[in-house]
Symmetry: C2
């Protein structure tokens, strides 16, 4: 399944608790679109959050994040890894 990195902006001061809650909100509904959110990293200073996922397509990532209440700024396919 394709892999994606999505980026959220504007999450200044995000706490561990807030990130865990947001990540859990994704996990709770991700199966409905065949998405598998694997990890999230956050920089509270810049307000940037990155999420790594496997998904059928970028739209599925976008929709799950939107329904969970935190639409991403952008979703990138990452077919190349090292």
């Amino acid at each position: 399944m394709p892999r994606f990195m999505d980026v959220h902006h504007g999450m200044h001061g995000i706490t561990p608790e807030a990130l865990h809650a947001a990540h859990q909100a994704d996990l709770d509904i991700q199966a409905e679109e065949g998405v598998d959110f694997q990890h999230a990293w956050a920089d509270p200073d810049s307000g940037t959050v990155w999420c790594l996922s496997d998904a059928p397509d970028a739209g599925a990532v976008q929709r799950i994040h939107e329904r969970a209440g935190h639409p991403p700024t952008e979703v990138f396919a990452v077919p190349v890894e090292a």
Copy 2:
């Protein structure tokens, strides 16, 4: 040790071979600054590459990438994960 996500732009069309070579160039010298590059993800279409690392500080990540020939556009601390 602190964790970092750095972002490179302008790597349009990057191939698996090119990403592996760049990642290896980092691995070859990273110990000199106590950096541990863990993973790299690339989107050849947008030319964006993300690298995850543990390092003493952002400067060490910046210097290793510069010396390896691919300075990052930005280095973010990611003290929060889920």
